[in-house]
C-alpha cells in the first residue's frame, strides 16, 4: 500500500513539473527590435528603434540597448597654478559605446544591487563594470566615472528613462512595446537589445535581439576611402579645396579683381 502511494506521489510530482515546464515554455519572453537595420545615408539625422515582444503577466520589464565594449582614453582636468588644465590621460576599459536603459519601474526599487551588477542594469552597475587606469581611491574613482557618464549623456550616447512602455494582455501573456529615439551620434556598429522580466526581486526571464547600424552609399564610400586610402583621400580633399578657391576667385573677377 505504502509503495503504491509513493509511486503515485512521484508520478504526480513529475506530471506537475512537466506541466510547469510546458507552461513556462509557452509564455517564454520574446523580444524583437523593429527597424533593426539602420542605414546611415547622406541626410541621416537619427532614427527610432522599437522593441516589442511577449512576456508573462504581472512582471516588470527592463530594456537595455548596448554597443560593443570598447576602451576610451580621456584627459583628466585639474588646477595648475590657478588654471584648469589637462593633467593626465586616463584609460577606461570595458566601456559600452552606447548604453540606453528603459524600465517600467526604477530598477533600484525592483532589483537588488547584486543582480543589477550581474546584468549591468543602471549607472551604478555600469560604474562597477568599468575598469579605470590608473587605479584611483574609491571616492576619486566614483567622481571620475560619474563625470564620464555625464560626458556620454551630453553626447547622447547614454540615457536612462522610466515608463513609456505600452503593455497589453494577449492570450495568457502580455505584449509590450516601446520606442527608443536613436540619436545620430550613435556610431555604426552592432547593438545588443536585452529585455529582462523582473518579479519579486528576481530576473525570471530574459530575451535578446540585435540592431545593426551601418553606413550606406556615398557616406560609406567616403568613410571607407578616408580609412583605407588616406593618401588619395587627402590629395582629393586638397584638389577640391584648391579648385573651389580658384573657382570662387574667378567668379569674383569683377569684385576682388586686379587694378
Amino acid at each position: 500500500m505504502k509503495r503504491r502511494f509513493a509511486k503515485y506521489t512521484i508520478l504526480a510530482v513529475m506530471t506537475v513539473a512537466m506541466l510547469a515546464m510546458l507552461s513556462s515554455s509557452a509564455s517564454a519572453m520574446t523580444a524583437k527590435a523593429n527597424h533593426d537595420d539602420i542605414k546611415i545615408g547622406l541626410t541621416y539625422h537619427g532614427s527610432t528603434v522599437s522593441v516589442s515582444g511577449l512576456t508573462d503577466p504581472n512582471v516588470d520589464l527592463i530594456m537595455k540597448i548596448t554597443g560593443e565594449d570598447a576602451t576610451e582614453k580621456l584627459m583628466r582636468k585639474d588646477k595648475v597654478a590657478g588654471m584648469w588644465m589637462n593633467v593626465e590621460e586616463i584609460t577606461l576599459n570595458h566601456v559600452p559605446e552606447v548604453y540606453y536603459l528603459r524600465s517600467t519601474k526604477d530598477p533600484e526599487a525592483i532589483l537588488g544591487a547584486e543582480l543589477r551588477n550581474q546584468y549591468v542594469i543602471g549607472y551604478p552597475a555600469l560604474r562597477e563594470k568599468i575598469d579605470l587606469e590608473p587605479v584611483r581611491p574609491t571616492e576619486q574613482r566614483t567622481k571620475l566615472l560619474d563625470d564620464f557618464i555625464k560626458y556620454k549623456k551630453d553626447g547622447m550616447l547614454y540615457s536612462e528613462s522610466l515608463g513609456d512602455v505600452d503593455i497589453k494582455p494577449e492570450g495568457g501573456s502580455e505584449s509590450y512595446y516601446t520606442v527608443f529615439d536613436w540619436p545620430y551620434q550613435a556610431p555604426p556598429g552592432q547593438y545588443q537589445v536585452d529585455v529582462y522580466a523582473v518579479k519579486d526581486g528576481q530576473v525570471i526571464d530574459t530575451a535578446q535581439s540585435q540592431v545593426t547600424v551601418e553606413q550606406d552609399g556615398a557616406i560609406k564610400s567616403l568613410s571607407d576611402m578616408a580609412k583605407n586610402n588616406g593618401g588619395v583621400y587627402g590629395l582629393a580633399a586638397i584638389g577640391v579645396s584648391v579648385t573651389a578657391g580658384f573657382g570662387v576667385g574667378m567668379v569674383f573677377k569683377g569684385g576682388g579683381g586686379s587694378h
Partner: protein, 307 residues
C-alpha cells in the same frame, strides 16, 4: 536641411558650417589669417570631435587661402620672394616645434605650456597691435605731417649688418635673407607648439619687425598659409584619417566666398583700421581662453584630441 558627416559621425544643419565658413573666410581675406584659432573651437562647440575639427579646418583653410591668395595676387599684394623665405623658415620651425611638444609631453606638462604660450602670445600681439594702431590713427588725425626721419633702432642696425642682404621689391624693404628665415623658424616653432597655422603671429612679425606694408602682409601671409595648410591636410588624411570631406566642402562654400568679400572690404579700409580690427578679434579670443582656464569646468574630463 541636415547632412551626415561620414568621418565626424554626426549630423549637421548645412547652413551652420556654411555660415561659419563665411565668417572665418571674411577674417581670412581681411587680415591674412587662416582662422584656425577661431574655427576649430567653434566646430568643437557644434559637436565635431576635436581631432576631426582640427584636421578638417586645415582642409577648409586650403580653399579659403587659395581664394584669398588669388584675390590678393590680382591686386599685386603678394610678395612671393618674402613669402618663400618665411615659408622655408616656417617649415623648419614647425618640425622643431613638433619635437618640442614631444619633449613637453614626455615631461607631462605639455598642456600647461601650450595654453600659457597661447594666452601670452595672443595677449601680447593683440594688445600691441591695438595700442600701436590707435596711436597711429591719432597721429594721422592730428596731421603732424612733418615726418621726422625715423632713426633706426639698435635691432634694425644689427639686422642691416647681416650677410645675404636681399631686396624685396613688392614689400619695398631690404633685409638679410637670414632675418625672415629666423622669424619664419620662430613663428613655425610657436605655431607647432600651439597647434595652429600661425597667421595671427606671422602678420605682426611682417608688419612690425619686417616693416612690410599691411596690404602686402595680408596677401603674403595667405600665400604661406596655403602651403602650410596643404601639408597639414595631407598629413592628417594620411596619418590620422580625420579629415571630413563633407564638412570641409560645406565650410569651403562659405569660406571661399568670405575670403573674396574680406578682400573687397580690406581694400576699403586703411592699414591701421585693419590692424585694430584684427587686434580686437585676437583679444576677444584671448579673453575667452582666460575665462576657460579660470572658470571651473562642468566636467573634469575632456577629449584627448584637438589643438
Amino acid at each position: 536641411m541636415y547632412i551626415y558627416l561620414p568621418v565626424a559621425h554626426t549630423s549637421i544643419n548645412i547652413l551652420i558650417p556654411m555660415a561659419l565658413g563665411l565668417t572665418v573666410g571674411l577674417l581670412s581675406g581681411l587680415f591674412g589669417v587662416g582662422g584656425g584659432f577661431l574655427m576649430t573651437p567653434l566646430l568643437i562647440m557644434m559637436g565635431i570631435p576635436p581631432t576631426v575639427a582640427a584636421a578638417t579646418d586645415s582642409s577648409q583653410i586650403v580653399g579659403a587661402s587659395t581664394s584669398g591668395t588669388y584675390a590678393h595676387w590680382k591686386l599685386g599684394n603678394v610678395d612671393f620672394r618674402m613669402g618663400s623665405v618665411l615659408l622655408a623658415g616656417g617649415l623648419v620651425g614647425g618640425f622643431g616645434g613638433v619635437q618640442v611638444i614631444k619633449i613637453l609631453k614626455a615631461m607631462g606638462n605639455a598642456d600647461f605650456v601650450i595654453k600659457i604660450t597661447y594666452v601670452l602670445m595672443l595677449g601680447i600681439v593683440g594688445s600691441y597691435m591695438l595700442v600701436e594702431s590707435i596711436a597711429a590713427i591719432r597721429r594721422n588725425r592730428n596731421k603732424h605731417r612733418e615726418q621726422k626721419p625715423q632713426s633706426d633702432s639698435r635691432l634694425t642696425r644689427a639686422m642691416k649688418k647681416l650677410p645675404l642682404q636681399m631686396e624685396f621689391k613688392k614689400s619695398g624693404v631690404t633685409h638679410s635673407a637670414l632675418v625672415p628665415l629666423f622669424f619664419g623658424v620662430f613663428v613655425g616653432v610657436l605655431a607647432a607648439v600651439m597647434g595652429v597655422g600661425g597667421g595671427f603671429l606671422m602678420v605682426p612679425v611682417m608688419v612690425y619687425l619686417l616693416r612690410m606694408p599691411m596690404h602686402v602682409v595680408v596677401g603674403t601671409s595667405l600665400f604661406m598659409i596655403l602651403f602650410n595648410s596643404i601639408e597639414v591636410t595631407f598629413l592628417q588624411s594620411y596619418t590620422n584619417h580625420t579629415v571630413d570631406f563633407m564638412l570641409a566642402v560645406l565650410l569651403l562654400i562659405g569660406s571661399t566666398l568670405g575670403a573674396q568679400i574680406g578682400t573687397i572690404f580690406g581694400r576699403k579700409l586703411k592699414g591701421d583700421q585693419l590692424k585694430i580690427l584684427l587686434a580686437v578679434v585676437v583679444l576677444a579670443v584671448t579673453f575667452k581662453m582666460i575665462s576657460d582656464l579660470t572658470l571651473t569646468p562642468s566636467l573634469l574630463l575632456g577629449s584627448t584630441g584637438g589643438h
